[in-house]
Amino acid sequence: MELWVEALLNMFKPTTMLWIMIGGFIGLVFGALPGIGTSLTLTLLLPLTFHLPPLVGLPMLIVAWESCVVGGSISSILLNTPGTGGNVATCFDGFPLAEQGKARVALGIATASSMIGGILATILLYFGLRFFSRIILLFGPTEIFLLAVAGLCLLSVTTKGAALKGLIVAGVGLLISSIGFDIISGFTRFTWGMDYLYEGIPYITIVIGLFAVARMLELVTEKEQVSETGKLEGSLLEGLLAPFRYLRTVLRSFTIGAIIGFIPGLGVTSASLIAYGMARDSAPNPEEFGKGAYEGVVAPEVANNAVKGGALIPGLSLGIPGNTDTAVFLVGLMMYGIRPGSDLFVTNAHLVYLLIVASIVAHFVYCFQISLFSSIFAKITTLPLGILAPIVLLIALTGAYTLQNNIWDVIFALVFGIIGYGMIKLKYPVVPFLMAVILGPIIEANYGRALLISGGSYSIFFSSVLSKVLVVAIALSLLLPFLQSLFTERLGRKVQA
């Protein structure tokens, strides 16, 4: 109880409230801009939060994250262009509603659905974290090592059509994460005599390069303007009340989102699409879907918010992020020296409670801001890339510099930006690379500890039942693309027959 009170007191301090309002606004604005996305928004905010105390910076990051997902629905509804990946399915019925002159109703539905989905996800996150913080105590270094490898393998092979490339970039990511001091021996590796590399390349520099710089390069070389124009009409209140009429859809979509979020690699887009599909299939009038059905907006918006709760459970308790957004958020945590894992509830329990409170408050913040500034957000969606790209790049590179006031951070952010751009253009998945960089230290430390315990014998990785199960899980995840192609071929033959 004390921790709840402490979290609430911290949350409602004027400074914290001011920063979460700013974070919420930035999240909504960047979410509304198609092509920016949640990961990039969080990336741009990381250097700013770095200069704030964790009790202010982390709630701000959470509020920005929640707001960004809702912000994405603004452009989905007004322009038929999803702001973030999770808002793809919102276009199907959100845009037809806007065409009927009910854009504000659709925005209200999206806001209320996100609120319901997000609050349910936060409750799930709290109980999930409590449960997993006990389960994780059963894990020794061997099991943690195998679990991290299993998560990484699963994430790499689930990249559509690029499983092999996913595994290769994960390998490169692991090697990059090992640059600098070795945790066990204290020996420096692959530094080429550069002082900057002695402590390794900061995660945030890599994240800024891979997401901000690379994404901006991709956008300016492919599109001239983010979007056309959007108009807001109708009643927001009608939309805010609408999701309460579809509670079955809400619960179903929430369950889908939470489960998909929990499994690494499946992503928020698939969650919202599956939730939309299931809502349509079980609706009494499926023919109305695609023409402006309210349920068609409720389902994806509940699901994409539920994903966050599901993804944060393994992210915070095991240190294995379920998706890119969670990975970037974990970078934010690590920036403050907070390591996700079993002792999060022991060493930083006050922060966990604060994050939970912030997650709940976030929904009221964006609801308030949307009702006040929805017209401004609608106008922002028309911002040309000629203005947007240099601004984003300016913020990103300045952010990289402010971390340590070291120009090498900027240079490395640019280098990773070029690498990230090459990866995007050549269809190399970026996510396994980032995950490998984040999981690298966990994998290496536990691998070293396990071998120290066993005196160098590899039999330790098959010693317990749990480790055997995890080895089988790794093997199965590696076989997944082959099994998938085999299954698709057989299915194709059956269809032909």
């Binding site: 200069h51 990249t159 490169v172 090992s178 000629g386 190399y428």
Partner: protein, 162 residues
């Protein structure tokens, strides 16, 4: 984001280019990324022999696994180039590419040459000109305000010496 088609792709079946020429180009693109990665892993692997056993254990294991993966990848690339070669998204608006590219990149270049405040000033001025702003008042005020604003936030509030 990755692995998705955007409708501007040209692969072996690309129109306007000879199929074998297009395939060769796609193969080149494919090697553009994989060869540097392979070289990085190879260099790391060779360097790891100079590290103590504890420090080299995992990198060496990762390098070995990566070599196996690269072997499979290169074999697949040679056996079935049509399927494996990169389908590079071509820029639908090549004429505007360099203009936009320079407008984005000259900020870090000026930063390196002239310092942060001047860079913000020059970039914002250039951006406004590129956007076709002709109002002189806007051309003077916006870059100055932006430059001072950024400088104030970073030096006074975040204590970053720019």
């Amino acid at each position: 984001m990755t692995g998705m088609s955007n409708g501007n792709e040209k692969n072996v079946s690309g129109v306007g280019l000879d199929a074998s020429k297009q395939l060769r180009r796609n193969m080149m693109y494919e090697l553009l990324m994989s060869v540097p990665m392979f070289v990085f892993i190879l260099v790391y692997f060779i360097q790891s022999f100079g590290y103590p056993k504890e420090a080299a254990r995992l990198p060496r294991l990762v390098c070995t696994v990566s070599f196996v993966l690269f072997f499979i990848y290169f074999v697949q690339l040679m056996r079935c180039p049509e399927k494996q070669a990169a389908r590079v998204s071509e820029n639908p608006n090549p004429k505007k590419f360099w203009g936009t590219f320079i407008s984005v990149w000259f900020f870090p270049i000026i930063w390196a040459l002239a310092g942060y405040r001047i860079a913000v000033l020059v970039v914002s001025e250039a951006m406004l000109l590129l956007l076709g702003v002709k109002n002189r008042l806007v051309l003077v005020i916006v870059p100055v305000v932006l430059s001072l604003g950024v400088y104030f936030v970073f030096t006074r509030y975040l204590y970053v010496p720019l």
